[in-house]
Subunit: 597 residues, 2 copies
């Protein structure tokens, strides 16, 4: 049975030593976050994850959700009790402004503890995760009345939320959607249509479910310009009292490869009552305001599953004895050495570890941009943070989920045949991690968002800022001999990224397929440089702490240096391959006629 | 529901135009293989695969094998009928020498049709696959009496075989195994112990099951030197008449991530009667004679699943309309374009296609070495073929299964959310493909076999031969302008491989961990160069055919050129990254102390 230990020390190191959390004490929510409070929040989140959420993860997979004949959905045993503890701990509203019943703490702190909770039970954490999306949409687009109506029970977690976008014929291309909204004359609408793949669409964890539904107001423009967003509750409320059942129901739940603990529903809207959220025909824009955070949340799923899978592979590799080290017996008293002595096993573990630690820093740095974008009193800082947030969001989503899946797969492989049988729980990690590469926009869509939208936005302002920050780091630390190998490797990566960007500028305008052909490699190239930048800062911070007297953390800091060196020396060399592929262009990809496939 | 079309035209192109099958008409089994016969065999194999085997694949996954209370195992509905058709077609004995009841046709032809059958139903094909392993072991190590006893019903497929190696504490490291054999005084032995992960260990497809079991003769040497191989049947036979049940039973079947249609058994031996196969304490060596073919068979599983998954992704990508091509609407009459127009979707499909076509050529070329090694009248040719077979076997196993899994994963991704739900069948491909990277020696073990055993064997004779062949191809075709981009790319890859080999020679002797740290990257580097070499030959053959008048195959041949160009231009650039990682050495991998993990 898998276990999990939340990496609180690593998180704290990133928040304090790399991101310099104390520098932001002027921002709302950051003020009282001294070292002790920060640590206490992380420790509480860790405890809940390890002791309450994680023990329900396995039954979530083996039993899963069951739709009963009356159309209700039963979640796996123990989910409700675990969810109640999560809810009662106030975790859902951790970063929600106090005026809406939350605690107003930083979103980056919410991100930090969310990683632990997702690692412990990804399927269960999707229920509040989607609620947070609904809360964000209501805060951004709701009228005062709507906020008063819907937010309090959502923030408390007594009600949960969903996002209803996909239809059978409309996934990535939402302009094709057909669900229709007809004004009822009383300010409400009647919603009719079918939505599919609706996570947490129906379940027994909450008293009510608030669906945010994309639909087309009758007579509105065709395509994506005619889409509006609606609030459609399962039970129609009078204040917080629930009145009759709305005409929305779960027609079926999908049998999936993984995340069996979360109900993926076909939702049927049969003239259901709903209210417009935001402006008429402004639905896509409203949905996109939720997208950054929702996508960061999915990126976090990749990181979290990659981490917990790796932890369990490490435990096995230390315990399982098989064969002898090539450099001579390491456990001569035993019949064989533990397999962690084998360089090829260690290559898998080190690769995952280096990505996990660097990816954690990247996720937290990106989340911090969201804090700055929303809370900084400084116009320029807000804009820069918003630029970086937009630029890095597809990278966090795409790269951390691709890598998280890869690491779950290699972790499974460390257990050999035992990884393949369900008994050891490694298969669940692989099967669960797979979905994060697909939903909230497949990683191909993330790559196109980065290359086609985020790069050219505002004349390339965001990516120029990124180049400037990374470039300045290299420049500023050029004199530091101990950092030279690090800044050199980072600079090489940055040069590759800049060359790729320049190639796109020169080749994608007249031939847009060159952008499409380059997109995924560009996404991963930027991922490598971003994570490399995080590692460079972590190495610098660790060196500084060691120089100042490690204060009981000597081995922790030394391990950071070793792992960082591994990333810079062995992993960063991939940037050259990504650049070469980008520069090979679209021709060889597009030359084969469609009918030849 | 997934479909499958056997790529007979591609296979035929490789066998005839690239491998030049007609050149070997002097070899036993090759003589009567004219173009028509060859095509007829492939077509018959294709028909069985498409019409009989494939329709049972889905129920194999959804229902799987069930162990009944009496210890017998029920295979999924339809498996028995499909197996019977396979058996009655004589496919099992296709490449078995005629003296043992087979047809004596080339092993490479057996490999060609096996790909189709595995693609159609991998789980079902494992039953005869393991039987073939048992047949090979009996032919190589059995006495005349043993051959007469066991081979006829096995070759007919009325009985099936298994390989019993793994024990709970002994997987890769077979020296640790504890199953014990005690002489009974009548020439037989009593076998006692527990084996796990025994594929096809118990089932209802055959009248009898012949287990080949590794065990330790009491009093024999410790470690791998004291292991012997035994024939232990489920029913003790008198001739072909089955007498009493032997003391071997299936204690449980494993719940696995995939291949649900094959029973993975815990086998309990409680003083079961068995007979020594080969020499006392010569069990490991005997087992290894089966290994090359067994590993090629597993490599074929990777190729086969990668191919069928890609075929289904292609069908979806042509059918699913979503969004518009970046270069302008391609289906302006429809609400959107089919997603195959998107460069990023096509990148996935082209990558898989190029590996599948190149990988097929590599698998067939390697299988041909087995034919030459066993059947050539020429000593030098036999030895060279045996050298190449040993060298390429870990490459075929490791690279084709790693890539096959990758392609199943990307094929699943092409279907977006539909790929993740079980209904569309793509999840099964991913879950089935995963095991091929693990069993018959994990791919890490393959990499170590290549670097630690196959490279240094006979002073590097095998790899030098490989370098010579690839180098000579580049040299001979230097003057051919149309081939220049191809030979250049291949030469660059070969240079990287030679540099990596040189680095190993210089750095792995005094520090063996450098070999371990390099192994997986070296395996894939050799995979790239091998497949690149196949592509170079396919391109050359296609160009020659076009120049000679394509004879109705113009588009087939042109597509080969386009796909080959894609491989040489876009894929081969990875060799530089593999070399860079190899040259970064073991230091960064091994620096972290075990307790830091």
């Amino acid at each position: 049975m898998p276990t999990y230990r939340a990496p609180t020390k690593d998180t704290l190191f990133v928040l304090q030593e790399v991101l310099g959390f104390e520098r932001y004490s002027n921002l709302p929510g950051f003020a009282d976050l001294g070292s002790e409070t920060l640590e206490a929040v992380l420790e509480e989140g860790a405890k809940l994850s390890e002791n309450v959420l994680q023990p329900t993860n396995r039954v979530g997979d083996t039993v899963g959700c069951v739709r009963l004949d009356d159309g209700t959905v039963k979640t796996p045993d123990g989910f409700k009790a675990a969810y109640d503890q999560y809810r009662e701990g106030g975790w859902l509203g951790l970063a929600v402004p106090e005026e809406y019943g939350g605690q107003g703490l930083p979103y980056s702190l919410h991100t930090a503890v969310s990683e632990y909770m997702i690692a412990a039970n990804m399927s269960l954490m999707m229920y509040p995760g989607l609620t947070q999306g609904a809360i964000a949409a209501l805060i951004a687009h709701g009228t005062d009345e709507q906020k008063a109506q819907w937010l309090p029970p959502l923030v408390e977690g007594r009600w949960t939320g969903t996002m209803n976008l996909t239809e059978p014929h409309a996934g990535t291309d939402l302009g094709l959607l057909r669900t229709k909204a007809v004004p009822a004359g009383d300010g409400s609408y009647r919603i009719t249509g079918q939505k599919i793949f609706i996570s947490a669409g129906e379940h027994d964890l909450a008293e009510n479910i608030v669906h945010l539904v994309l639909a087309r107001i009758e007579g509105g423009p065709a395509g994506s310009k005619g889409i509006s967003l609606f609030v459609v509750p399962k039970f129609l409320p009078d204040g917080e009292e629930l009145r009759e059942r709305n005409a929305v129901s779960c027609g079926a739940i999908e049998e999936k490869m993984g995340i069996h603990g979360n109900a993926t529903c076909v939702m049927n809207y049969d003239g259901a009552t709903g209210w417009l959220l935001g402006t008429e025909h402004g639905g896509l824009r409203a949905m996109f305001t939720m997208m950054n955070e929702a996508r960061l949340g999915v990126g976090l799923q990749g990181l979290a599953i990659g981490e917990v899978a790796t932890q369990n592979a490490v435990a096995y590799a230390k315990d399982r004895i098989q064969g002898r080290s090539l450099s001579g017996a390491k456990s001569p008293d035993k019949a064989a050495d533990p397999i962690i002595v084998h360089a090829d096993v260690r290559r898998n573990l080190m690769t995952a570890r280096a990505f996990n630690e660097g990816g954690r820093a990247l996720a937290l740095w990106t989340a911090l941009q969201s804090d700055l974008a929303h809370r900084s009193p400084d116009d320029k800082q807000r804009q820069e943070a918003d630029d970086l947030l937009g630029l890095l969001t597809p990278v966090v989503k795409g790269v951390l989920t691709d890598k998280g899946f890869d690491h779950a797969v290699t972790a499974q492989g460390v257990l050999g045949g035992h990884g393949y049988i369900e008994e050891w729980g490694m298969s669940q990690f692989v099967r669960d991690a797979r979905i994060a590469m697909i939903y909230e926009g497949t990683n191909g869509v993330q790559a196109m968002d980065l290359v086609g939208r985020k790069l050219p936005a505002n004349g390339g302002r965001a990516v120029q800022l990124f180049f400037k920050q990374v470039g300045e780091f290299c420049e500023e630390n050029r004199g530091d001999e101990k950092l030279t190998p690090v800044t050199k490797a980072l600079k090489r990566g940055l040069n590759d990224l800049q060359a790729a960007t320049m190639w796109l500028v020169q080749n994608a305008m007249q031939k847009p397929d060159n952008a499409g052909a380059a997109a995924t490699d560009y996404l991963h190239l930027m991922g490598l440089v971003s994570i490399g930048y995080m590692w460079a800062q972590m190495i610098k911070a660790a060196q500084a702490r060691i120089a100042a007297g490690a204060n009981g953390s000597a081995s922790f800091l030394e391990n950071k240096l070793v792992t960082g060196r591994f990333f810079m020396e062995r992993v960063m060399s991939e940037t050259a391959l990504r650049l070469a592929r980008i520069q090979s262009g679209a021709d060889t990809l597009m030359a084969l006629p469609d009918e030849a496939f």
